[in-house]
């Protein structure tokens, strides 16, 4: 009897020690589990590159990488786990490149420690879709209207301020139901960054980010969640990606840009938005663009790589393969954008991207000549 008790005790101790060991092990390399393994596979297989990040760019990347594979035999495995996740994977060095819809924030930059390059891949627009069955022509919205609607200050479609921008349109006497993304998203980031640029009140009360504290409205998960809310709720308005709106034939509003023109979102007007003088690191929000024909609510998605490619025992060949892939993406790869409703890079953006790619080094030497 006593012996059995002793055994139970022993087993208990063993268990506790096991847990303790397990935890300390977890802590010492939290977030790095499996890091070694996947880098190993990533480096040993010469003909494969690993990427992770933005879900927004995923359909385009799948197409581009499959075409690139046909042309060169290089296999690229891209996991669409979200921009934040992609940056984390790159920080942990488990992938060869990340992709994010927003540049690294301060904390992420500090965590990654060394210089990284942001290379614009394409741009995408965010459109305001609505459910107003009586309104046949595209609704016109000014920046002030948008911020007032999303702040919850304009509550009905009959509001004289909306009517002033839409003369001749018979607006229904319906309450406005706002639909927004409930999940953290680059789309939300682009839209709220735009609102902070055009409205001081939005800046002070709400701000910009991939998840924010919405003053009003309903949240839906993903583009399809928001689109579902809009389609179902009469009087609803919400923001979704241009590609999603076009594929699902949803109506969307023309937005007044900085030059005062009402611009309907399209692949062309989104490309036009990035045809401006860009900073050398390309880390800029395209929203509220200076371009006269540019649609005002859009943004780049960036591939992110380490500037110095000689880390974790990577080979020079691998770095070269990565750089060549990205070079192809911003040139030949751009022709796949339009059919998928992404906006190709403008000439200005391509030339900036070229300079950035050329600045990548391996052991201090430029990789691309």
């Amino acid at each position: 009897m006593n012996k059995q008790l002793l055994n139970v005790k022993n087993a208990l101790y063993a268990g506790v020690i096991l847990t303790a060991v397990g935890f300390s092990a977890c802590n010492s390399n939290s977030g790095h589990e499996g890091t070694q393994d996947s880098t190993e596979t990533a480096t040993t297989d010469k003909n494969a590159l690993l990427g992770a990040g933005s879900t927004f760019v995923y359909p385009l990347f799948s197409k581009q990488f499959s075409e690139y594979n046909k042309a060169t035999g290089l296999k690229v495995n891209y996991q669409s786990i979200g921009s934040g996740g992609g940056i984390l994977q790159l920080t942990n060095k488990t992938v060869d490149f990340g992709d994010s819809d927003a540049p690294l924030n301060e904390e992420q930059t500090k965590k990654i420690g060394v210089d990284v390059l942001h290379i614009p891949m394409c741009s995408g627009a965010v459109v305001l879709s609505y459910n107003l069955p009586e309104v046949k022509t595209a609704l016109k919205l000014t920046p002030a209207l948008l911020s007032d609607i999303f702040l919850g200050k304009i509550k009905t479609w009959k509001d004289p301020k909306i009517a002033a921008a839409n003369t001749g349109v018979n607006l229904p006497d319906m309450p406005i139901v706002i639909a927004h993304r409930s999940d953290g998203s680059g789309t939300t980031n682009i839209f709220t960054t735009y609102l902070t640029k055009v409205s001081p009140e939005w800046t002070s009360k709400v701000g910009a980010g991939s998840s924010i504290n919405w003053p009003a409205g309903l949240g839906g998960k993903g583009n399809e969640g928001v689109a579902g809310l809009i389609k179902q709720t009469p009087g609803a308005i919400g923001y979704i990606e241009l590609a999603y709106a076009m594929q699902n034939k949803m109506p969307f509003a023309s937005i007044q840009n900085k030059s005062g023109k009402f611009i309907a979102a399209s692949v062309a007007s989104t490309s036009a938005a990035s045809n401006i003088k860009l900073p050398a690191d390309s880390k800029v929000s395209l929203s509220n663009t200076d371009a006269a024909d540019g649609y005002p609510i859009s943004g780049f998605t960036w591939a992110i790589i380490y500037k110095e490619q000689n880390y974790n025992n990577r080979t020079a060949e691998k770095s070269e393969a990565l750089l060549k892939l990205l070079w192809w993406n911003i040139h030949e790869g751009q022709k796949f954008c339009e059919t998928l409703h992404y906006a190709p890079l403008s000439p200005a953006a391509i030339s900036v991207a070229e300079t950035i790619l050329k600045s990548a080094t391996f052991g201090g030497k430029a990789i691309l000549k």
Partner: protein, 296 residues
Amino acid sequence: MRQKDPGLQVKYEMLFSRTLVITALLILILVIGLFLTLLLESLPSIQHLGFGFLFGKTWDPVSNVYGAYPFLVGTLLTSFLALIISIPFSMAIAIFLGEYQPTGALSAFLKNIIELIAAVPSVIYGFWGLIVLVPLVRSLESKIGVVPYGIGIFTASIILAIMIIPYAASLGREMISMVPAQLKEGAYSLGATRYEVIKAVIIPYTKSGLFAGILLSLGRALGETMAVTMVIGNSSIIPTNIFAPGNTMASVIANEFTEADRSLYLSALIELGMLLFLVTVVINVIGKRIIKGFNT
């Protein structure tokens, strides 16, 4: 056949009992480990926000302010509302299948259907809710004069209620069918009607089991994520009535975890997970106490 060697026999017995103990302990370790992980990962948030996390009414990732109160309210409101809606149905099913129709084809069919309700993936309930239930609730809302969103706490509670019915119903049916026949026959022989037998014999005899079933379904409601996320409206504003949109702890975690790009933000989400864990534990402990009270 092996020869019966008493020494070997004892060894096997020992080995067997030790395996049992270790397996059972592993589960315990897992649960403790789960809690410790949550605790460790949420330490930055606990240190930074303190009790403000629990009572804060704003969840604002932009300015790094995290208050879980709206989601705590949302979770408890949807779960208990779902429980209230589901109890009449689950109890009726339990009594019908346990007492009125314990055997036969109809009973077997119903039993299978009830079990099927539990087996349907929650995302399907979410879809159904979005497509069928939301328009119904919206027309109800426009009739009673509240803002006709269609989605919100009330819709989420109805979906949850349907999802949790099988848990209380199955356990209840099992308990009711196990009431000794002598007890019931005794009551009948004294002239009791069927309703009186149920009220005076079956319910008192099985109440701890019925309550355990209800507790089980409450546990399910607290943690349900997908279906709720799809119909609750995901608003961080504290709901003012049951038709308003709201949010639950599980929904917030599912929605925001992938793009939480600052360590405090991530930590606050994990603390939210820990809070959900604790709420479930507390409710379970209280429930167990009540069951104990029934039995003594």
